[in-house]
Symmetry: C2
Subunit: 215 residues, 2 copies
């Protein structure tokens, strides 16, 4: 059965790879599964046809035969469980890798999303400059804890897993802020993720759609 995902017709980040379809592309490249992409305008994302697939009107979605999934975390977990290579076989190690997936989206990402809101949505508000340092400090806390746990290891728990894929993807959002560079082992961890051939292919695929075009 063929796999189809959805992505932005034109990503708000202009091809920096921060749209969430990059995470799903990366997982599919890691497990060696080909996939098709259906591009959506912002208007199309809010239409009933897409809301039937994704109740929150976002990208990406994942279609394979009769199966329709949304939520990047769930899609990547499904890919990891269905195709080999992104989760350990041993039951306890597998549960720990899945733990890092949840940690990425529920412990590390929320304050990072708050930074996006503070800059993009509330950037012109009178409180923006005074509030920004508070938002940054709330990101530093889990980063410091993650840095302490990672230590000198290459990956969070043994070999590269779906947990690392998700954590690297979440941390990538921070590059422009400079926060990542305050934690050299985390910056190196992210660079290690980006250096994987599967990530490179995923990044190139989204860039081919989103790179500024002539004319």
């Amino acid at each position: 059965m063929s796999i189809t995902i959805t992505a932005f017709e034109r990503s708000p980040d202009g091809g920096r790879g921060l749209a969430r379809d990059t995470r799903v592309r990366w997982a599919l490249e890691e497990v060696g599964q080909p996939y098709g992409v259906r591009l959506l305008s912002f208007a199309a994302m809010k239409e009933p046809a897409h809301l039937a697939l994704h109740p929150f009107g976002q990208i990406p979605t994942y279609e394979e035969g009769d199966l329709v999934l949304f939520e990047t975390g769930s899609i990547i977990l499904y890919i990891a469980q269905r195709y080999g290579g992104l989760l350990p076989d041993e039951e306890n190690a597998r549960a720990r890798a899945i733990t890092w997936m949840f940690a990425a989206v529920n412990s590390v990402e929320p304050p990072i999303l708050d930074l996006v809101v503070a800059r993009m949505v509330e950037g012109e508000k009178p409180w923006a400059s005074e509030r920004l340092p508070l938002v940054m400090d709330r990101i530093r806390k889990p980063l410091a804890q993650l840095s302490a746990r990672l230590g000198a290891a290459d990956w969070l728990d043994g070999s590269f897993s779906a947990g690392d894929l998700m954590m690297v993807s979440v941390l990538l959002r921070l590059r422009a802020s400079g926060l990542l560079d305050e934690f050299p082992n985390l910056a190196a961890y992210v660079a290690r993720g980006e250096a994987r051939p599967a990530y490179q292919r995923a990044f190139a695929a989204q860039l081919a759609i989103n790179a500024p075009r002539a004319g």
Copy 2:
């Protein structure tokens, strides 16, 4: 093998059931597994012994034999996969139920956490009153979408699942805000979750620890 979870020695919510151990207790009650609880002071949560179990210094954790897990979502998924009753058997339906778990923690909960921050952490800041309506509106958006998807159904996708357990738990945080009552089908959905005997037992167990004591 016996199961041990961690919880606050004294929950900041005074026993309203919003601390995340309630979610894990609920899952364990649904699958009928007995468990022990180790209570932790705020100081103990930041000590090396606990950080070895939970790198972000939070509760709950889950210990069963050699297995140590953190992150409520991961713990509940593990319980659901190991013991029956919280996930459908059919593969696609199972993937969809897991999707709702991720939707709860990554699409619905982040703006709700922002409301907690706006009130508890930034409640005395000069921007608090002007910013609060913006924060509330960012919660209304996914609630409206969730309400539209739920419609007149009892649960999000067929029978009650770990996805509903997590979504109800996330929405419960909103009761005091009044936001839930703007969406009657969501308020009824949450009430339906709270009425489950397993939830009642979980709630009572945390209340027994956290209820204000005489003296």
